[in-house]
């Protein structure tokens, strides 16, 4: 089929879905200092070693996020996005205790505030390092007021998408229609 006449498969992620998927992976990296290595390890454990044999190949796929500084045009195949979502769900399962601590209201307020602040600092560093600060989505994430809401949504999404049960939920959410 001619590329110009090829219609986007309904099961592929749109731009917003790719943005959110990469931001959630970025959040995992912010929460887990070994997140980058863990992604490659987890991909191999889940049988995606051919798709993501090393960090560079993984990074190339993540660069389809339109908010990236080194953004790649085009879209990922369903196989690739499914593999990335599976890796994300497995990573979220791995860090679920940390996600739970962030979301729990039974933790002391002082400790909870410190945890969120640490997460904010690390995520902001990664966002400034890798994403394009001129994009509105990035500015919202770095905004002191709006950023907190976005970070809460990211952590909620990771907690509810953790594990095998979260795959379908997360995938459906990433395929939401654009607002």
């Amino acid at each position: 089929m001619h590329p110009l006449t090829e219609s986007r498969s309904p099961s592929r992620l749109n731009r917003r879905g790719l943005e959110r998927l990469d931001l959630m992976l970025l959040s995992v990296e912010a929460l887990d200092l070994n997140g980058g290595e863990a992604m490659v390890f987890m991909a191999q454990q889940l049988g995606f070693g051919d798709l993501f044999p090393n960090r560079v190949e993984l990074w190339k796929r993540r660069c389809y996020n339109p908010l990236r500084l080194a953004c790649r045009r085009g879209e990922l195949s369903e196989t690739e996005t499914d593999a990335l979502i599976s890796v994300l769900c497995a990573l979220a399962e791995r860090i679920y205790p940390m996600l739970r601590q962030l979301l729990s209201s039974s933790e002391p307020d002082v400790v909870s505030i410190q945890r969120w602040e640490l997460f904010r600092q690390r995520l902001d560093e990664l966002v400034r390092e890798r994403l394009n600060p001129r994009r509105g989505g990035v500015q919202k994430l770095l905004d002191p007021e709006e950023g907190a809401r976005h970070r809460l949504q990211l952590v909620q999404g990771l907690a509810l998408g953790a594990g095998a049960g979260g795959f379908d939920r997360l995938k459906a959410s990433l395929m939401d229609a654009a607002a």
């Binding site: 809460l152 909620q156 095998a164 049960g165 959410s173 939401d176």
Partner: protein
Amino acid sequence: MKQSYRYEQTSCRLRIDGLPDLSASQADDAIGILMGWELDLIGRPSLEGKRNHLEALLTVVLPYARHLVSGVPRPFGADGSPVQIEPLVNGEQSRHRLRLFSSQPDTPPLEFDFDDAELADLVRCLDQLRLDPRVQLGFVIPAEVPLQRREILERVPLRRRLLSPAAGLAALVITSSLSLMLPLPKPAAPQGEAKPAATSAPTTPQAPAAP
């Protein structure tokens, strides 16, 4: 032979008891006939119920979690449903109210307020139950589907949604007002014997000059 399976998370434990449905050729370790279930939530009374209560819990809590992942939480559980859940707006913290209706008449519903962590624990327990191949109860759970645009639009605050049309309307009103304030061009004054333009309106003939 009676089977009993447990699914545990930090703040939540779900136990189901049942028997394999041998008429449906289920394996010995399967549960096809539910005898009972029990949900223990930390700091709250233990919950028990029948098959329809467990099915209602699954069909209400899981779609609610699905919407929460998309950032558009909304109430689930129709009137008459034994289980209902709705989001609570409480400052910056998001909480979720689970309401359970007893099948006994004149019994007030039980209400539990969960934080995000407790809700995630409950969802994970229900996921484990849903995905357990040994549990073959045939629950009909709505499939996870992408949300439509109109459902997503609710996520954008009304003020922000109305901002662009309001700005456009204001710009139109200001431009129109300014154009009304501009003076109208005055008709050109007649200059002596100037000939009327060929396309001008017919004029009355001038009276003959007096001798």
